[in-house]
């Protein structure tokens, strides 16, 4: 069934905005790799020891930021109907619960084995 053409949102992103987001994504990726190199790489200096406990949380935050940028701007969720965001976010929540539960269940399982 065809819907009438999609209503145009106000403040439609411009190619310029898209390009800027692309640059930010590139920088975030560089930061991820840089963080890795600084903590575990061959070029890791004295800072590496201090970074280790923060490594996973920092990395996850960087990827989450990239994820959010692509979802909100490239996939248009920021401007589109909230329904699309709901249809995407709800499964992500369930997915996160599944991943975390399995990690916990198996970590626990092995620790008492």
């Amino acid at each position: 069934m065809d819907a009438h053409p999609e209503k145009h949102e106000h403040a439609h992103p411009t190619p310029g905005l898209y390009a800027k987001i692309g640059l930010v994504l590139f920088v975030l990726t560089a930061l991820e790799v840089g963080l890795y190199e600084a903590t575990y790489g061959e070029t890791a200096g004295p800072l590496a020891e201090h970074l280790r406990p923060f490594f996973v949380p920092l990395l996850l935050m960087l990827s989450a930021a990239k994820f959010a940028l692509v979802a909100m701007f490239y996939m248009h969720l920021k401007q589109d109907s909230r329904l699309f965001s709901g249809v995407f976010v709800f499964p992500i929540i369930i997915a996160t619960v599944v991943i975390v539960s399995l990690i916990v269940l198996f970590a626990y399982h092995y620790s008492i084995a």
Partner: protein, 608 residues
């Protein structure tokens, strides 16, 4: 409130849309009503096959140390009985009702993607045939419907049995996922004017929640089956203990799917009963909003309790406690539903028709099943119950006493709409009592046997353990149950009577506002509703009843074209998977080519 046909000048309809007849019209159909009937007939045949498998099991268990079935054949029969009943009977019977009713109840002409709908059916048919073809090779699945690793590894199951199962289920999963996307979009997007979400019939709500469960749960088993298929076909080590693999991972992944799956099996049944009770109590459903939210809550919670199937695997007290508590919590929204059904019936002007008998029977039987379920949730007590007949009793009470009773109620209720024939009332009641008595005789004693120690999945038991008497009762009961289905078949094929009444039951929802059976386009004009129970509202406004809706020519109504590409695509997709088991990689590649052609032809053929 345009539930009647306003202003149509056609007296003698000129067929603008020719009535489609013949085999080819069924093969190329994209009409949700025809697809619904295809699902129903196919599922019913598989249900009878599953029933015969059960009877064979019951014959074997009717006496101690019996030699009617070999242990190997017994394993195949109980595996196929479970797999068939869940995936080839209850789910597609629900799909029959999703297909037939959802567009009608929301005032739409068809589902959002009619060809995708046809695709789902054909994939289901191929998957069901494929899995049952295993019997021809003497290699029917034999590892239990839950296929625990590492019994399912190549090492311990070298034959084709497990492959038929993994690939068959994978094929069926495609059908379910495609249908779930379709019905989700249909319910969100194709509701008629005025039908807000909180005005939808309860069956549509429960179906909607079921589609969400399907979308979230099936990918998990898809991956689990991939891991198993890869272990068996390509030598990966996911469930190989010697390589560090953990068979428990299978159990977790399977039950993360498996628990939502049981809600997938019961929520549509809840929906059906929620339609039938109000009509035959002449009262609206009690607590509509509570019914919606409790259904959603059950589904959501259902994702957090999967390891209650694993209390005996030593997950540790913390995990056990979390899952036990979650499981107990689910009893609350379930209880809300039961009280609301009772509240619907209470004070109503009851008409005890056959659908009403089955709906009331559903409530009683489901309560029993729910109670034993709550007993399982007490983890220490489950250590005694698990792997015994006590569990078998529980799930048959909820799946048969629950789902099947409800689906049967729905069959009697909607039969006149679907086929223009009404089933005989007296025979219907004979069916009910035979089924009720047979069902309880077969499954109630399993509670006793289970608590007295009879294990599940054993092909026989020795004499002298005290199991003989109840097993004999159960076997006798299973034949009474079988007789009830013979009565049902007799009713359908011999004693049903033509009816042209659009609204034989004084229904509340939109499907009763159109002819029986409906014309291909469903509604002459798409309706507008102003509240729940739109037909009761319309009848009240008119001071009684509505005139019979006329059959119209359908001129000017745009219908999707029939197509055979869904069938071709289904064959391609299934062949890709089947090729993993036989003739890899060439069969899979051939399947891929057919799939590619099917998808492109489908995408580029004009839909209208």
């Amino acid at each position: 409130m345009a539930t009647t046909v306003a202003g149509h000048p056609h007296a003698a309809p000129v067929a603008a849309h020719a009535e489609k007849t013949g085999l080819w019209s069924w093969i190329t159909t994209v009409d949700h009503k025809r697809i619904g009937i295809l699902y129903g007939v196919t599922a019913f045949v598989f249900f009878l096959i599953g029933g015969i498998e059960a009877l064979l099991i019951r014959i074997q268990l009717g006496a101690p140390d019996n030699t009617f079935l070999s242990p190997e054949l017994y394993n195949q029969l109980f595996t196929m009985h479970g797999t068939t009943m869940i995936f080839l009977a209850v789910m597609p019977l629900s799909a029959m009702f999703f297909n037939y009713l959802i567009p009608l109840m929301i005032g739409a002409r068809d589902v959002a993607f009619p060809r995708l709908n046809a695709f789902s059916y054909w994939v289901f048919l191929i998957g069901g045939l494929f899995m049952n073809a295993s019997f021809l090779f003497g290699a029917a699945p034999n590892q239990g419907w839950f296929g625990y690793a590492n019994l399912t590894s190549r090492q311990y199951s070298p034959g084709l049995n497990v492959d038929f199962w993994t690939i068959g289920l994978q094929i069926l999963g495609i059908a379910s996922l495609a249908a779930a996307v379709n019905f989700f979009v249909t319910i969100v997007n194709l509701r008629c004017r005025g039908m807000t979400l909180m005005r939808m019939p309860m069956f549509v709500w429960m179906s909607f929640i079921t589609q969400i469960l399907l979308l979230l749960a099936f990918p998990v088993i898809t991956v689990a089956l991939i891991l198993l298929m890869f272990d068996r076909a390509f030598g990966t080590t996911f469930f190989v203990p010697a390589a560090g693999g953990d068979p428990l991972l299978w159990q977790h992944l399977f039950w993360i799917f498996g628990h939502p799956e049981v809600y997938i099996l019961i929520l549509p049944a809840f929906g059906i009963v929620s339609e039938i009770l109000p009509v035959f109590s002449r009262k609206p459903l009690f607590g509509y909003a509570a019914m919606v939210f409790s259904g959603a809550f059950i589904a959501f919670l259902g994702f957090g309790v999967w390891s209650h199937h694993m209390f005996a695997v030593h997950m540790g007290p913390f995990a056990d406690a979390v899952f036990a508590l979650g499981t107990m919590l689910i009893a609350i929204p379930t209880g809300v539903k039961i009280f609301n059904w009772l509240g619907t019936v209470w004070g109503g002007s009851l008409r005890l028709t056959t659908p009403m008998y089955f709906a009331l029977g559903f409530i009683a039987m489901f309560i029993i099943g729910g109670l034993s379920g709550v007993m399982h949730s007490v983890a220490p007590h489950d250590l005694q119950q698990t792997d015994t007949y006590f569990i078998v009793a529980h799930f048959h009470y909820v799946l048969f006493g629950g789902s099947i009773f409800s689906l049967t109620a729905g069959a009697y209720y909607w039969f006149p709409k679907m086929f223009g024939r009404i089933l005989d009332e007296r025979l219907g009641k004979v069916h009910f009592w035979l089924m009720f008595v047979g069902f309880n005789l077969t499954f109630f004693p399993m509670h006793f046997l289970g608590l007295n120690g009879m294990p599940r999945r054993v092909y026989t038991y020795p004499a002298g353990l005290g199991f003989e008497f109840w097993n004999q009762v159960e076997t006798a009961g299973s034949f009474v149950l079988a007789a009830s289905f013979l009565v049902f078949l007799y009713n359908i094929f011999v004693r049903s009577k033509r009816t042209t009444a659009a609204d034989p039951w004084d229904g509340a929802t939109l499907e009763w506002s159109i002819p029986s059976p409906p014309q291909e386009w469903n509604f002459a004009e798409l309706p507008t509703v102003h509240g729940r129970d739109p037909l009761w509202e319309a009848k009240r406004a008119r001071g009684g009843s509505l005139p019979e809706p006329p059959r119209v020519s359908g001129a000017g109504i745009h219908l999707p074209n029939p197509s055979y590409w869904p069938l071709v695509t289904a064959i391609g997709a299934s062949t890709v998977l089947i090729g993993i088991m036989v003739g890899f990689p060439w069969v899979s590649i051939a399947g891929g080519v057919v799939l590619f052609v099917g998808v492109y032809a489908w995408a580029f053929e004009p839909a209208h």
